[in-house]
């Protein structure tokens, strides 16, 4: 939903980092985007292409890794993926905060991030 503004912040952060290292060109940017964010990868790529035009990031490779959502149960200690409610009517399984092991409620520990992991640049 907010791909343009988020991508704009990504591009600015990468530019600032590249400038501080006096880079002439950025060739790759690696992102990690959580499954629970509302960022559409297709839109992030499009915004990236538009926003990097005319900068040292232009035509750099954008590598996006999706971080699966993970939960932790305080009751039984389970840590791992979500349980899903799979009703054929919903077409897609709906993630839930129910512990897949004991059924208690769980806390989200991963999947809400949008991180610039690394940048490849040429000085």
């Amino acid at each position: 939903m907010h791909e343009f503004s988020v991508t704009s912040q990504i591009v600015q952060s990468v530019l600032a980092e590249a400038e501080s290292r006096k880079a002439k060109k950025v060739s790759e940017v690696h992102l990690v985007i959580g499954e629970l964010t509302f960022l559409g990868l297709e839109q992030v790529r499009f915004a990236y292409e538009v926003l990097t035009k005319g900068t040292i990031l232009e035509s750099s490779k954008l590598v996006i890794k999706t971080q699966k959502g993970a939960v932790k149960c305080d009751n039984c200690g389970y840590q791992g993926g979500f349980s899903y409610e799979d009703d054929p009517l919903y077409h897609l399984p709906v993630p839930t905060l129910k512990c897949p092991k004991c059924g208690n409620s769980v806390n989200v520990v991963a999947g809400k991030e949008c991180t610039i992991k690394s940048i490849k640049m040429m000085v």
């Binding site: 988020v6 629970l36 509302f38 409610e85 839930t96 905060l97 992991k117 690394s118 940048i119």
Partner: protein
């Protein structure tokens, strides 16, 4: 201790190197939200964020909550909308301070807008703050504001699948109010099914049914929010 070698390792001209950054872009809002929470707590203010679709009854519920709680707490309300002060005026009629936050074109409030609005309040003079988000079941889930509790309002007139279609906002909810239950029959909506959907997605959330026109169920919302 060996002497420091006065030599700095520099990349050669034309050399390619990797920079590890690990910078979280969404963290900026989370840090501001934590700041808001800290400021509110320092002044002894508890805050509730109210989210829900357009027309679900967020403002009506706040009006009823204000009526019921204004003798117990000194209340202020932030009212998020793209434009107009219509709802803020509705709330102000009940004799509490209401501030309209007009986002212009943004579909949600963010921690920075709330931070700015907090500057307009004398926090020493209030103990309870309701923050009504812009009507939207998607974006507000991505932007925490610094509230203690999150209340989601969903009405039966929005159709039978509103909860399963927006699981993420319900995951963030502490209390869910299923509103307009007086309309359920006319709409052919199954209130029990909506309740069950919320409990499936978020077993921790407290689910209550309300009719904000008459005030039915508002007691249970107050109890659910521990106010």
């Amino acid at each position: 201790m060996p002497a420091l070698k006065k030599e700095v390792i520099k990349a050669e001209e034309g050399e390619i190197f990797d920079v590890e950054l690990s910078k979280d872009i969404l963290k900026a809002n989370q840090v501001l939200a934590e700041g808001n929470k800290e400021l509110l707590h320092k002044n002894g203010v508890q805050a509730v964020d109210i989210m829900g679709a357009i027309g679900s009854g967020k403002t009506s519920l706040i009006e009823k909550l204000v009526q019921q709680l204004k003798n117990k707490y000194r209340i202020a309300v932030f009212k998020g909308d793209l434009t107009t002060t219509i709802d803020a005026e509705l709330i102000a009629r009940h004799g509490v301070e209401a501030i309209a936050i007009n986002t212009g074109k943004e579909c949600h409030l963010d921690a920075n807008l709330v931070k700015k609005a907090l500057l307009k309040l004398d926090l020493k003079k209030i103990d309870l703050l309701f923050i009504e988000n812009v009507g939207n079941l998607i974006c507000p889930a991505e932007f925490p504001l610094g509230s203690d509790k999150r209340l989601v309002v969903v009405s039966v007139t929005e159709g039978p699948y509103m909860v399963v279609k927006h699981p993420f906002i319900f995951m963030d909810a502490d209390v869910v109010a299923i509103n307009k239950i007086d309309m359920a029959e006319a709409m052919g909506s199954d209130v029990g099914k909506l309740e069950k959907d919320v409990r499936t997605i978020n077993p921790k959330a407290i689910v209550v049914t309300t009719n904000c026109r008459t005030g039915e169920g508002v007691d249970a919302v107050v109890k659910g929010l521990k106010l």
